[in-house]
């Protein structure tokens, strides 16, 4: 069974204080690893798709990386508007569904 575990559950950062969010996973054949941002009461907003170990993608202050067991979302010099819940999900072999973790709630304090 595909599984996704995200840590920490919650993270408080000062504005400008860089950090990383972790997504560890078990899957029988990874077809894609996805990162989303979700604001309260809204639908998840797509950030990145990663397909193979060693792949990296960047967007503004965010950088996602992938190994065979984990993915990291690095946040460089965060701003208060980066506060949100960040969700990690995967698509496994032979499956069309996304399996999600519970998310990491990030708060960036001015």
């Amino acid at each position: 069974e595909d599984q996704v575990t995200q840590s920490p559950e919650a993270l408080r950062l000062q504005e400008g204080e860089s950090s990383s969010l972790n997504c560890s996973y078990t899957v029988s054949g990874l077809r894609g690893l996805f990162w989303y941002r979700q604001d309260p009461g809204k639908g998840p907003e797509f950030l990145f798709t990663l397909y193979s170990a060693g792949e990296e993608k960047e967007k503004e202050r965010l950088k996602a990386t992938l190994t065979k067991k984990e993915s990291f979302l690095h946040i460089t010099a965060p701003k208060p508007e980066d506060s949100a819940t960040y969700l990690c999900a995967l698509a496994g072999a032979g499956s069309y569904q996304l399996t999600f973790g519970k998310g990491t709630k990030l708060s960036v304090i001015p």
């Binding site: 996704v4 990874l30 077809r31 894609g32 996805f34 989303y36 009461g41 809204k42 639908g43 998840p44 907003e45 797509f46 798709t49 397909y51 969700l87 999900a89 995967l90 698509a91 499956s95 069309y96 569904q97 996304l98 399996t99 999600f100 973790g101 519970k102 998310g103």
Partner: protein, 116 residues
């Protein structure tokens, strides 16, 4: 370019009633998936529709059913509502043409269902 749209935004029902939620996919997408998200949890997969057929189903009872129309839009129906069905219901659309790679799913804003 319109993204994924869902209606209604909010809905209040009582136990035992039936509800229909609607979704229009992002332009160019042909596949629709539905997810249920309880407070503080990640979304849980309900089912996916492609070519007007249910292609895969998650661990949800038969009270949850769906439909996809020729224009790729979709409906989620829930019968005999329970208190535990209160959640944010998310629709996601994708394009089926990416071969072996996992197709990126784009989510709508969700429908907040409250069952009293």
């Amino acid at each position: 370019d319109a993204g994924v749209t869902q209606s209604p935004t909010h809905l209040i029902k009582t136990r035992g009633q039936q509800v229909t939620l609607r979704c229009s996919p992002k332009s160019g997408h042909d596949t629709v998936s539905w997810y249920q998200q309880a407070l503080g949890q990640g979304p849980q997969f309900i089912f996916q529709y492609y070519e007007e057929e249910e292609r895969q189903r998650g661990n949800f009872p038969d009270r949850f059913s769906g439909h996809q129309f020729p224009n790729y839009s979709s409906e989620l129906n829930v019968n005999a509502l329970l208190l535990g069905d209160s959640a944010l219901y998310l629709c996601a659309s994708s394009f089926n043409g990416d071969g072996q790679r996992g197709n990126t799913q784009y989510f709508g804003p969700g429908t907040r269902l409250t069952v009293l």
